[in-house]
């Protein structure tokens, strides 16, 4: 079997694992980000402090350190994760923390009058946030969130440090067997570039679709 005949199928398999990690981490990290932001802005003091602490912690650690702690340090205190799940969890915490800052800033940027109008219609605080504040905040936070998601797509390559056989780990492994660095890393690079570009184009389209007169984000 030639080099390409063994490398490409393995690369494909690694890519599928990369996609699986992202398919889990992206929606969950967005949900976490929104929850953290709401907790920080509207939560009672303990909730708000807890959310702020969470964000501060995971924004303050390099993703690689977070991953190593989850996979290697937590077992010492009896918490075990398989490599795949350790990576997904690290991605969710790290990206969720970053994204939540965009959502929080966007919530804060919504004019006080929106809240007054909602409450004067008889909406509860909960309804106000769900129906009036969040929809506007998420439109404003959208470019920031999509940027973080693109980072996440690329940083998913760090999962190799906890032994996930994702696309980058496969590339590294093949490089150590064949030393054909140019072909191997170029192939991986092209796939990452295509993923990031596809995401970028997709987000741009979605952003245009979500565009509402008067709510555009200044560029």
């Amino acid at each position: 079997m030639s080099f390409w005949d063994t490398f490409l199928p393995s690369l494909l398999q690694g890519w599928l694992i990369t996609l699986a990690m992202l398919a889990l981490a992206i929606p969950i990290s967005v949900t976490l980000a929104i929850s953290l932001a709401i907790g920080r802005v509207y939560g009672k003091r303990p909730v708000s402090l807890l959310a702020a602490g969470f964000v501060g912690l995971f924004r303050g650690l390099p993703l690689i350190v977070t991953l190593l702690i989850i996979f290697f340090a937590l077992p010492k205190v009896g918490v075990y994760f398989a490599p795949f799940w350790a990576a997904v969890l690290g991605f969710i915490f790290c990206s969720g923390a970053y994204q939540s800052e965009y959502v929080r800033a966007a919530i804060r940027s919504i004019d006080m009058g929106q809240s007054l109008a909602a409450r004067s219609l008889g909406m509860s605080k909960f309804r106000e946030v769900i129906h009036i504040i969040l929809p506007q905040a998420l439109i404003r936070a959208f470019p920031g969130i999509s940027n973080e998601i693109i980072y996440l797509i690329l940083y998913s390559s760090l999962a190799y440090v906890v032994g996930v056989s994702e696309m980058f780990a496969v590339s590294k492994h093949f490089n150590s067997l064949y030393f054909r660095s140019i072909e191997i890393f170029s192939a991986a690079a092209v796939v990452y570039l295509v993923m990031a570009t596809t995401a970028s184009v997709g987000f741009r389209r979605l952003e245009n679709r979500l565009r509402i007169p008067g709510l555009e984000v200044a560029r």
Binding site: G113, A117, A118, L121, M123, H131, Q136, I212, P213
Partner: protein
């Protein structure tokens, strides 16, 4: 006026922010079908008074009744009360992410739990009432100030309120857009929509106001029919205030 006809009653409302006492004991009543005007220099507490009435701001002291229900009682569900009080803001405060129709129907759908189709029908009716049916699909940013404020009026009316509060509804508008909003408000007053209006529009006050209250430094210092108050003010502050308004606006409006 008999007890049954009183829609809104405020008794001894007080509010202070730190050292500054914004409301120093405000008491008044609004009867069914009445249009009450509240005016006075800026900082006199008019807006705070309005907001204390539906507890957007919590008063430190005093009580408010809406159709006999004690609004200020801790057991009262304030969200239920607010559904019955239309509130029109100086800055319109239309929901920026919703078109005109949705701005009017969202309260019906999400608060009153009326079905989507029925809510849409009511919202269209109310938009027609303020002359904006053909702008139903436009977003706030695509409407003029006068149109925005008319949508805000429709939004308030859609909830079938027992009273509408207007907080300087024309103060943020270009002069040439004020008329269309006042027309809508006058029409509603003629239809005997109970309302409490904070405004400096003396023409409006004189044509549809039943009573005018003049506020200074957190107190209602004078009250009477708008005509009486404007032509024969008792106090020097009131007099000089109306003179200044006359100078600024002219007398025709």
């Amino acid at each position: 006026m008999s007890e049954a006809e009183i829609v809104l009653k405020a008794e001894n409302l007080r509010k202070r922010y730190g050292e500054h006492e914004v409301l120093r004991g405000i008491s008044f009543e609004v009867g069914r079908g009445e249009t009450k005007i509240m005016c006075g220099p800026s900082g006199s507490g008019k807006s705070t008074a309005l907001r204390c009435l539906n507890l957007l701001t919590t008063p430190d002291e005093g009580r408010v009744w809406l159709e006999g229900t004690d609004v200020t009682a801790p057991s009262t569900d304030i969200n239920k009360i607010r559904q019955k009080i239309g509130f029109v803001f100086q800055e319109f405060n239309l929901f920026n992410h919703l078109n005109a129709l949705k701005n009017v129907s969202i309260g019906l759908e999400k608060v009153r739990k009326i079905g989507k189709d029925e809510a849409r029908k009511i919202a269209l009716e109310q938009l027609r009432r303020v002359g904006l049916e053909e702008h139903a699909e436009k977003y706030p940013a695509e409407l003029s100030g006068g149109q925005k404020q008319r949508v805000a009026v429709a939004r308030a009316l859609a909830m079938s309120p027992v009273i509408v509060f207007y907080d300087e509804p024309t103060s943020a508008l270009d002069p040439h857009l004020i008329g269309e909003v006042l027309e809508v408000m006058k029409e509603l007053a003629r239809e005997k929509m109970t309302s409490l209006v904070v405004t400096h529009e003396m023409g409006f006050a004189q044509s549809v106001g039943d009573e005018m209250m003049f506020m200074v430094d957190g107190r209602i210092v004078e009250r009477g029919t708008p005509r009486e108050l404007i032509s024969h003010p008792q106090y020097e502050v009131t007099k000089s205030f109306f003179e200044r308004i006359q100078e600024l606006y002219g007398s025709e409006r």
